[in-house]
Symmetry: C2
Subunit: 164 residues, 2 copies
């Protein structure tokens, strides 16, 4: 949630002679207010609830703009799981539960302090690094062992009877 405030955003916008529209304000606000990881569709839904008449195309356009302005990051949190979040100062990484799709953030200073320097020592220039960890959260592990019903649409545990 440490995003430039609206007036800060406004100056960024004007400096590039872009325009500060109501749609952009709404979309940015939704992103700032949420601490979840939303996709374009979810952002679209929330913006509409706030009554703005914003089209899905505009949501996509705005997200692309915000990405390019460095205000928003697009994250691939696993297979078929692209989400957006406001840009953070601290580098951080993501664990995704394959059953309930919950996202848990964590730090891993080894990446910035050891792994990336090692890569750059080979002459490569690093601009981005994502560590994507998948598995099962504590709750869903419990449910599975109990054989409980849960949102198994996304279960990726290989199933002997359905390999195809």
């Amino acid at each position: 949630m440490d995003l430039p405030n609206q007036s800060g955003f406004q100056s960024v916008i004007k400096a590039r002679n872009l325009r500060m529209t109501n749609q952009r304000r709404q979309i940015l606000q939704v992103l700032q207010e949420s601490d979840e990881h939303l996709d374009a569709e979810a952002i679209y839904d929330r913006v509409r609830q706030k009554d703005a008449r914003v089209s899905l195309a505009t949501v996509y356009r705005s997200l692309t703009l915000f990405k390019n302005l460095g205000l928003v990051d697009e994250r691939n949190l696993g297979e078929d799981y692209r989400r957006f979040e406001t840009a953070q100062d601290e580098p951080h990484y993501h664990f995704t539960c394959l059953a309930c799709r919950k996202v848990i953030e964590f730090n891993a200073p080894e990446i910035e302090q050891k792994i990336i320097p090692q890569i750059e020592a080979q002459g490569l220039k690093v601009t981005e690094a994502h560590l994507i960890v998948s598995g099962y959260c504590a709750d869903c592990q419990r449910d599975q062992t109990r054989g409980k019903k849960h949102a198994d649409t996304h279960l990726r545990i290989p199933n002997q009877t359905n390999l195809r």
Copy 2:
């Protein structure tokens, strides 16, 4: 390229009463022969060159099957960059050049030895971990500073004049 050989594959297939078809053989062979990271379309092209009449749908179906059998891994090597590779014994991670799309593999034992154990200590069960690093390889850095023409279709360097 340390994949079960064809006879090993055959036994895996039969054990699940699946069938060893010519299409599957061809697709698997393409994956084994290549040390690049291919997408479904590229696999499709190569299989067709070997003259088999294989449909794209079958390529997708086979890749899904191989994934579920643990013979093949699907990798998200960055934005819009899903590729397949034969399953490896050693965990490894990927650097992708944003300019030429070259992929360089590297090890990072800190991930398996420190980061994952820390995550699991919190009660999470980890089944997968991908470290995706993006940036510019030595060659493309050189080209850029010289202002050379190169495949800039994929350049992601924010461009002040084209933010939208």
